[in-house]
């Protein structure tokens, strides 16, 4: 599924990394617990999280993942954007809840990591 399709589906805003909107992703993982994200061995997935702080971006960096979707209309800080840009990541935000976001993406064909 293309990132720009994900943005449209969740009525999202692109905070940074617009140059990647034509790229595709096959898997997603929803979690507010970064330690659970860090247990995943795959790298090519969309992280759906309500945790909007520098550690969610750090976790993405360590996990080698490029696409982050922040739910529940959480604000993204400047230091998060800078770290994401340093690592060539895309951050998208949505006002939808984690459940609604995950349900929409699952129905549209994004696969669960497990």
């Amino acid at each position: 599924m293309k990132l720009k399709e994900i943005v449209a589906l969740v009525e999202g805003k692109v905070v940074c990394g617009e140059q990647h909107l034509d790229e595709s992703v096959e898997y997603a993982f929803s979690s507010d617990l970064m330690s659970d994200v860090l247990t995943l061995r795959i790298t090519d997935f969309l992280l759906v999280t309500g945790l909007s702080n520098i550690q969610s971006i750090r976790t993405a960096e360590m996990s080698d993942l490029k696409y982050i979707l922040i739910v529940r209309d959480k604000k993204v800080t400047q230091d998060m954007i800078e770290l994401a840009e340093d690592n060539d990541m895309t951050i998208i935000t949505t006002e939808f809840s984690m459940f609604k976001t995950s349900g929409l993406l699952f129905n549209a064909g994004l696969k669960p990591v497990y």
Partner: protein, 138 residues
């Protein structure tokens, strides 16, 4: 030894947690280490770095890299771990609400570190500190 890298970590400084792991990631990339191995190194190191920030007063991380692999020693001054076997259990945690707000503190860190490394050793003394030492082969 190709190189040794040393980083200081301050307890409670969540904004900087992960800084050392980030630097190591860049170095290993430059050395041409395979991405799957880099991920194991930095995930283990990041969890351990967050542990120092979350639980200790301060610590020093020393990473030694040679052609066979990387050894990382995380030596902290802090309250120590009274019962290491218990701390190694998935789901056991003494983390504060602040740590949980940062997306950690669910008792997954030490088991996740062990799952990513080839050699793992931890020793601790209450009210003195903890030394975590791991090795990952290239």
């Amino acid at each position: 030894m190709i190189m040794e890298l040393v980083y200081k970590v301050e307890g409670g400084d969540f904004n900087k947690a992960g800084h050392a792991s980030s630097q190591i990631k860049r170095v290993l990339k430059q050395l041409g280490v395979p991405p799957a191995i880099i991920k194991r190194v930095v995930v283990a190191m990041y969890e351990a770095e967050v542990n120092i920030v979350a639980h200790a007063w301060r610590g020093v991380i020393t990473a030694g890299v040679n052609e066979s692999g990387i050894r990382v020693v995380l030596d902290d001054e802090g309250p120590g771990i009274p019962n290491i076997a218990q701390a190694m259990e998935k789901g056991y945690s003494t983390a504060s609400a602040e740590v949980r707000d940062m997306g950690f503190g669910a008792g997954m860190g030490l088991p996740n570190i062990r799952a990513n490394v080839d050699e793992f050793n931890i020793t601790s003394e209450v009210n003195k500190g903890t030394v975590l030492d791991f090795f990952i082969k290239f």
